[in-house]
């Protein structure tokens, strides 16, 4: 979809038509991407407005909140719950380190929920302040397009107002979807799961993606019986197969029941909970059913088609590499474009957008070596290509280095859980193409590795780096012997 950029001088241009608009930029949606784009555009001198739905932890067509998915219904509350859930493992591990804990350690879900909500409200306030400090005008309400330069905002009281803008940015994000099976109304999505009134004692999760396994870890850590159903042989499709296997093993090791190759066919309310039927004909009764089966872009009520903004089959806004839609002055960033749906990527797209449009510096987001993390317990983090991708995308042989070791803490705690690391190296250029790790602190460790990959680090440079002893991360610089060499063009067994 690359297209020649038209640099029309934007701010530099003192054209008279500028005065016709209320704003230089109107942003619909104040999540990670929208807030970043607004702030950075304002910093370039643009007059910016942003609209967002009223605040609520659970999103819908008419509620949302400044901060967006990441802050209110995603990364942040999720990580808080992961922190809480991790303590159970810590309690178990602490005993062999000499700690004597009473058998009844209680867990007060309501207290956690309260503290989590307080933190989210605080962050929501911070985001609002960030916007007003940057000189961005905020409107509360649902935004939709009237024409290429006109946005209508439906306020919470139902009244509408219209604002004109030279540029419009769509940053409305996405929302969790329910699969269409009988009884689906009994299921919840991740939004509700982050704000349940009661902590479930039994939970069924459908989905093999990162959201599914994060919640599996969260609920398990809080003491629930967790059953995880997914269609494939292993969870986390798209990740390196070896790491997928490692994650599956760890989930099981922590007491989560895995049901690979299994789908849910029906949900029924019963006296003691929700009765779940699987496509294998099994039945299971549970307190809560979470559908973590994907998210869809929030584009339905934006009136996009009417103004000529094209969307794809999933409803994602089609954009070129500068985030421009099929209407030249309408742009879109973040999950609504369904490129790489990560907060830091939305931030990058938002920044690149404002540089391009208001900074006079056309900038494409760089999607190479974007690291990411799955906050299951223990977490998984990866950067660059996995083994399969490396074989598809490079012409040379691939060298694979793997290490699976017992972390030092486990030597005393007795926990049977290995940390797994993997490097994929181009045999010809020696460049490290990808790195992955599953084990404690993986996301913190991988950030630095991602910086190294951005520098084009070679395996020789990894090897010449002195380790930090004793750490888990030092294993990445001491992987001396090749685990295997895979000839160029080899097809790996996939579709697990």
């Amino acid at each position: 979809m690359a297209r020649k950029m038209l640099i029309d001088g934007e701010l530099g241009q003192t054209a008279t038509d500028e005065k016709q608009y209320d704003f230089d930029l109107f942003v619909i949606g104040a999540g990670s991407g929208g807030v970043r784009a607004s702030r950075t555009s304002a910093a370039f001198g643009a007059k910016v407005a942003i609209c967002e739905l009223p605040f609520h932890p659970v999103s819908s067509e008419v509620i949302g909140g400044v901060g967006g998915t990441c802050v209110i219904r995603g990364c942040v509350p999720k990580k808080i719950l992961v922190y809480a859930a991790q303590f159970r493992g810590e309690f178990e591990d602490s005993r062999n380190f000499g700690w004597e804990l009473s058998d009844e350690i209680g867990f007060n879900w309501k207290k956690l929920l309260h503290n989590k909500t307080q933190e989210i409200i605080r962050l929501n306030g911070i985001y609002k302040r960030l916007l007003s400090n940057a000189g961005v005008t905020m409107f509360e309400g649902e935004g939709k397009l009237i024409d290429a330069h006109l946005v209508e905002v439906t306020q919470p009281d139902g009244t509408t107002k219209q604002y004109s803008a030279k540029h419009i940015l769509i940053a409305t994000g996405s929302r969790a979807q329910l699969v269409n099976i009988p009884g689906k109304e009994l299921a919840i999505t991740s939004d509700e799961a982050l704000s349940l009134d009661e902590l479930p004692k039994r939970a069924v999760i459908l989905g093999g993606g990162y959201i599914a396994i994060e919640f599996a870890s969260i609920w398990r850590g809080m003491g629930a019986e967790v059953d995880l159903f997914y269609r494939k042989e292993l969870p986390l499709r798209g990740f390196d197969d070896e790491m997928r296997a490692a994650v599956a093993k760890n989930l099981e090791g922590r007491g989560i029941r895995l049901h690979p190759g299994t789908n849910l066919s029906e949900l029924r309310q019963s006296g003691d909970g929700i009765r779940v039927l699987t496509d294998h004909g099994d039945q299971i009764t549970t307190d809560v059913v979470l559908f973590a089966t994907g998210r869809l872009p929030n584009t339905k009520r934006l009136n996009l088609q009417a103004v000529g903004v094209e969307v794809d089959k999933t409803g994602a806004v089609k954009v070129d590499e500068y985030s421009r839609t099929t209407v030249p002055n309408i742009w879109a960033v973040g999950d609504v474009t369904n490129r790489i749906n990560l907060t830091p990527v939305a931030l990058m797209e938002g920044t690149c957008f404002s540089k391009t449009v208001f900074g006079g510096q056309p900038t494409k987001p760089d999607y190479i070596n974007v690291p990411c993390a799955v906050f299951c317990i223990p977490p998984l983090s990866v950067v660059g290509l996995n083994e399969q991708q490396a074989l598809e995308q490079t012409k040379s042989d691939i060298l694979v280095y793997t290490s699976s070791f017992n972390p030092m803490k486990n030597t005393i705690s007795g926990r049977q859980e290995k940390t797994t690391m993997k490097l994929v190296v181009d045999a010809e250029t020696d460049e490290v193409l990808g790195a992955s790790m599953c084990g404690p602190d993986a996301p913190e460790i991988m950030q630095g590795i991602a910086v190294a990959l951005k520098c084009g680090a070679t395996k020789a440079q990894f090897d010449s780096t002195v380790g930090i002893h004793p750490s888990a991360a030092e294993e990445f610089v001491t992987m001396r012997s090749i685990t295997r060499r895979v000839a160029a063009g080899t097809k790996l067994k996939t579709n697990l």
């Binding site: 303590f87 380190f97 700690w99 913190e444 951005k454 002195v466 991360a473």
Partner: protein
Amino acid sequence: MAAAPSLRAPPLTLASTAAALRTFSRTLVLQPQKPLFTSSRALRSPPLPPFPSNLPRRRLATRASADGGNGAPDPRQFDFDLFTIGAGSGGVRASRFAATYGAKVAICELPFSTISSESAGGVGGTCVLRGCVPKKLLVYSSKYSHEFEESRGFGWTYEADPMHDWSTLIANKNAELQRLTGIYKNILQNSGVTLIEGRGKIVDPHTVDVDGKHYTARHILISVGGRPNLPDIPGIEHAIDSDAALDLPSKPEKIAIVGGGYIALEFAGIFNGLKSEVHVFIRQKKVLRGFDEEIRNFVSEQMSLRGIEFHTEETPQAILKSSDGLLSLRTNKETVDGFSHIMFATGRRPNTKNLGLEDVGVELAKNGAILVDEYSQTSVDSIWAVGDATDRLNLTPVALMEGGAFAKTVFGKEPTVPDYRAVPSAVFSQPPIGQLGLTEEQAIQEYGDVDIYTANFRPLKATLSGLPDRVFMKLIVCASTNKVLGVHMCGEDSPEIIQGIAIAVKAGLTKADFDSTVGIHPTSAEELVTMRSPTRKIRKDPSPAMIIGKNSDRVDYLLEALKVVFFLFHERVLFYPCSANELSCSCKVCIQMELLLKSFMV
């Protein structure tokens, strides 16, 4: 053992000042037209050598390969190609690698004990038995009390406060050490190295005596490590060192820790976490000399918040034992009573006594460190030394690097110099520190123009736990090349976070690379790639007073240097930088300089 990097400017001795002045005068001679104090660079300390070699560079490269391995000129028959004294990190690594190159290798080590002495040690060495490993295990254990605290904010409730049983911890720790020392023995055995238990002593350049039995070897490697060093003050016999602190029969109720280095801070964290009352006594104003100033401030602040009491600028003078068995520590300022234990973490000395080194002509430094060249060769051709015994950078991974380089040089026919640039290191204090490269002070001295990026934030976990934990990060960037010169961090997971950054620095990291890296959200580490605007920009400043004003710790050093400079000018060893080259010259430049010098003499 993990150690503070020794990359700070060396203490000012006349010799090093003279070296500094040689550089200084060279600058003056080469650039006679430039006024003297136009740049801070003129005042910088002696440039750091690319590697901390403490023997003059020699003609080793060629000789090593000629001498090593098979084509040796010496026709004598030896029992072994290599005899290694000391089976710690460096010795084991060197022996194994030498064996894989085909050398016949023997290694000797003292019998196993958790406390080291002239007659006890154990395969694995300091790192495995009395350093990194047991220390980290105790850190893990002690950290739980903080985690229990944190968990309350996340909804966890306790009927009774968790209690700690010291003896369970120590028993499990010692079982693990036994396992590890066994693994090390297996590693040696599997690589075909002959392990001899006993105390090795050098008889002649090719002979080692182990408890009366003589072994001959073409090469001898000394890797005997270091040991804690206690000052000679009255009552010192009541004090313990880090060896003993790792293996106490019971948990201290109230402990004094003397020292401000990394070992002192790590133990302060351990005992504080296990609910001992901890007092740390340091001679200086701040902990961790040699570390970045802001890190020094930050870590002691965070440790204080966790309940550790620091007594600064106090020099211990005596330990007194009262009738109830408790100890008092008397310093130049006060006497603090009621200690169950007093631990000294006041430095470590190389284990080079009674090795017969002096007799065979191996040169030692004043502190007993074996002097080696950049290939780890001593002043005796057939004798080499690696690790803490040479007191270069006293870190396990560095000893491993030196051991590996030694084996490559001598038996792999590939002369290899260990690379000491950008060696990362960690302090497992609570919170821990990870760091790499230059401190701000060093960067200014070396590069003049630097940009400093800092972040000081409350991590997500602390917002829920309600604890006052914070994270501090700092990037030091060369203003002209955009290269990242130093990365410093104090806070949860710092050591794990810094490792990857260290690889990036090896790969030539620039600030732009940092910026173009996408963050991993939500982590602490992502802050490192989202530091967009510099906290401050430091530029060459014409007035040295400005630099001194920024950093009181360097005042003494600079003043001393200036005094010597002034003296040398008077003695006409150095000349003023103007064309006249005369002491009485009255040109603008010379007058300006004289004024400056005089202002510092006051």
